[in-house]
Symmetry: C2
Amino acid sequence: MSQPSTHVIAIGNAIVDVMAPCADSLIEQLGLVRGGMTLVDTARAQELYDAMGPAREISGGSAANTLAGLAALGSKCAFIGQVADDQLGEVFAHDIRAGGISFATRPRSAEPPTARCLIFVTPDGQRTMNTYLGASQYLPAAALDEAAIADAGILYLEGYLWDPEEPRAAMRRAISAARNAGRKVAFTLSDAFVISRHGDDFRALIAAGEIDILFANHLELAALTGHKDFHAGIDQLKAKVPLLVVTRGELGAVAATGGELFDVPAEPVAKVVDTTGAGDLFAAGFLHAHVEGRSVTDCLTLGAVCAAEIISHYGARPEADLRELAARRLG
Amino acid sequence: MSQPSTHVIAIGNAIVDVMAPCADSLIEQLGLVRGGMTLVDTARAQELYDAMGPAREISGGSAANTLAGLAALGSKCAFIGQVADDQLGEVFAHDIRAGGISFATRPRSAEPPTARCLIFVTPDGQRTMNTYLGASQYLPAAALDEAAIADAGILYLEGYLWDPEEPRAAMRRAISAARNAGRKVAFTLSDAFVISRHGDDFRALIAAGEIDILFANHLELAALTGHKDFHAGIDQLKAKVPLLVVTRGELGAVAATGGELFDVPAEPVAKVVDTTGAGDLFAAGFLHAHVEGRSVTDCLTLGAVCAAEIISHYGARPEADLRELAARRLG
């Protein structure tokens, strides 16, 4: 097995976030699932956009956000995801490439347009996401560059992309390509509602030993394992996944690996402005330290540092110099 | 003359700002006019976008920013400006309407696309703007709703829009419509380089008594009058304009009216993040207090409060509750 020339290659939704602050009452009024991610069709997306205040657009997408963090920390990254040949597609492609990430998936010229996520941010900083998948759901297996996957140390996949059929097939094929090349597969469960739809698939992948590194938050852990008790959930999964990483918001994060349990507290944040991307950037920090061969505790700590940075401002792409934050915290 | 049902109607560029932080060295490397506004064509816009880091998109446009501030303060506003029938056009239209501003100009279906401004923000918070005018330069005089102009207390115009021919003709026609209806005309000079191109037109408008309220910054005042000395410039203009308002950055702002001179200091700002929109929001605060019939000093103070808010974050659209800030400061 040759030395990989890319640290992490990811497959994910290629989404532009459309974000606006909103009053708590609007969440109820619009019948939104507070704190969750709901898929919306064109008509519902228009209805929600009409109800949204003045907004800002910032590139997003869970795995893409993770890569943005990884690249900012110095990891070499590549992204696979489907945009349309339109202005939001150009915005997404610009932002990911400007972050130093290789992105070669060709834009799709047919309808629908590039994916967007309408994000309502309540005064407590909680984000409520409504995703219009658009072009993103049509990522074809043919768009995979299997040589690039074989040439990356870690293949990173987001659970969100398990909903649409074509990308799901593409991800299954990517897992095979990575495993055949002797690479690691990392998977993030993304959302408890995604697990309610695809939990059987995820459990089967885990049981088959296809997942080397699994990221989840405490709600997703509960949804996947059926255990409301955090530690019972960890106990059930830890034997099946070589490296299990579970975040639990302000309670910090836990990793289970090699029969041992590690945990770190959350990093202090002056004011939580917008929680969008907290899990994505946690994964970025964790994976970057992992790629660097650091201790599990360092991996968790850098995850917590990056999550703290992202929730202190609007948007799920890093604004502060993550490399400097990492150097200051880990040395 | 009937009571106007709209406080301020504005004609301006309909632009989406594309903003990213950048190192001072990049400004030189790209040959940009630091702190200025430069018009760019498609090729140059692409070149600059390629050189720009990961960005965010926030609706902009000078007069549109001013209306966003006015509407946030409680003034009733309407906007006239040209977007294309594309995604950035939808973003612009959404944001302005979501701010409570009436916007009825129909999107243009032909090329070019909606205007964008590529804004490089250096570590000192200074913005360097590169505007691709796109659809904005094709605002036809036919798009003017003269009844709406006659029904607004103040017609507000931006000097930036004097460059392209069609909007210039539209603005001339709008000035006539407003004056025929006995309304006031407010004009912002926008940029010293715009004055180098159109100073003769501006001086002629002023000499003809077409401008009731003139907004400028100290650089524009110098460019228009030829006086490097601030007070010499004020002295030259104050007799020709019923209400002259000049901002001077951290030195505060001055108004000359009715033979008197008023001045206020700048409001303190913890950290200048991005100066984009400082003048636009100053005009918003000033005009809102003016519409409310407040003293000139109160008008200047509210201008300074709104300018301070806008430079404390990215983007030229207000984030804080301006009404609350106004109430706290002016009572």
